[in-house]
């Protein structure tokens, strides 16, 4: 899967309302340039993100995901991101073991004042995902269980 020059990845970004979402805002209002391929979903806390949502993103055809929450110790709800950290690490291991490139599954921390960092992170994530190419889907081998079963409609 070589990187494709014209490939515009679709990236879902789950951003914590209290930090990374504000950072994205700051990056915007400070006129910092960052790639437009991310679709932002605002969440109340990184600890509130069900890993199922992230798996589901790939089911629905996202090329990659980015989750960004508050730095450890800075959680608005005291320890949401500590719980999230364990979940995300396990999810990352799971996805990679199942054969989904780790470049597609990105986690980071970003505070409300780090607009510049946010722009840089998005840059990096887009680069990483471009490098592994488009996500072909779990069903890149066809929809149905065994091809021969549908072969003649029989």
């Amino acid at each position: 899967m070589a990187g494709n020059e014209n490939f515009e990845p679709k990236i879902l970004a789950f951003l914590c309302n209290w930090c990374s979402y504000a950072a994205a805002d700051l990056a915007g209002s400070s006129r910092m340039q960052y790639p437009p391929q991310i679709r932002v979903i605002r969440v109340p806390c990184s600890g509130r993100i069900d890993p199922f949502l992230l798996i589901r993103a790939f089911n629905s055809g996202a090329d990659g995901i980015l989750v960004s929450g508050c730095h450890p110790g800075d959680c608005h709800y005291l320890d949401g991101n500590y719980y999230a950290r364990r979940r995300f690490l396990m999810l990352k291991e799971l996805m990679q073991y199942a054969g989904i490139a780790e470049e597609r599954v990105n986690f980071t921390w970003c505070s409300a004042s780090e607009g510049k960092r946010f722009a840089a992170i998005v840059d990096r994530v887009v680069e990483r995902i471009k490098a592994v190419g488009p996500w072909e889907g779990f069903d890149s081998r066809g929809f149905i269980r065994r091809e021969e079963e549908v072969a003649g409609g029989n």
């Binding site: 149905i144 269980r145 021969e148 079963e149 549908v150 072969a151 003649g152 409609g153 029989n154």
Partner: protein, 345 residues
Amino acid sequence: MLKVLAKSELGQFLDKLKQEFRVVAPVRRQYGKKERVEYHPVENSEEIILDSQPDTPPKKFFLPQNERLGDELEGETDLEEGEKETLIFGVRSCDLKAVEILKPVFLDDDFTDTYFQKKLEKTVMFGLGCSSRQENCFCDSLEINPLEGKNVPVNMYDDGEKIWFAVRDKELEKFFADLPDGDAEELEEKKGKWQEEFEKTAITLDLPLPFPELKTFEAPFWHKVSANCLGCGVCTYYCPTCFCFGFFWEKHPEGIDRWRTWDSCMFPLFTKHGGGHNPRETQKQRTRQRIMHKFSYHPQNFDGVPACSGCGRCISQCPVNIDLRVILRTVEKYLKEEEGVKSSG
């Protein structure tokens, strides 16, 4: 017409059939450490297994687990023109009976399921008489003859060295013209021996079909026979006669496809209302539904024929080895006792 074929020549014979048919047969597959026999299109005649019951029934050829019904707005899909007929090579009596059980369900007068009908019309089945009892089968307890498949143009027998073909259809005779004739007496003798073996291992079930509905329904044993049931759908998905289904939808850029998929009465979601109420909430109720549907409700609607062909797959595949025969025994015993109480009182 009775013909014989040395097993070593099976490949050549199948090549002849393949010119006109898409030939499907039970073949061996290896998954990890587990070995299975499944119906697949034949590539190599050596992988064909005729001496062991396939783990999956041939139901999928008429009622696939997933079937595209058509676009929601555009209409039904048709089978592709010029498609070869499918020949299923070696279908045992139980599975043939299962197809006979499915027929009146899907081809009734009010509503003919064209999807099922078209597939059935495009399929030819060669029956295979059983020469030995399979792992958990009990078709002879349900008055099915394991040696003689019904409604098939060709019935085969495998005696280990040769395959015997009893050809009953004139049109198919051309495929068998080159083969040497079989000695009918020799075959009868073999069949007699196999028959004896079956009789020795038979389980006699004296079941009043259909089961009396309310009396069986309210019987006290249902909790006991379902206590170890996990609630998975294996028994229904491996059953050659289970036909319950559901719909699902696939959105794609060109439209929305409606698919039909198997569903199972063993799942709680099967009967759960949108509002949350579930008429069959417990595993006991769902197990009872499965048994009662097969042996009481279905025979009531279809001339006393139970929706079970005794293939035994639900027993062999069950993760906790629940035995349908034990449940039937329990029902039989209970009904007899009830009858006894009634006549003496």
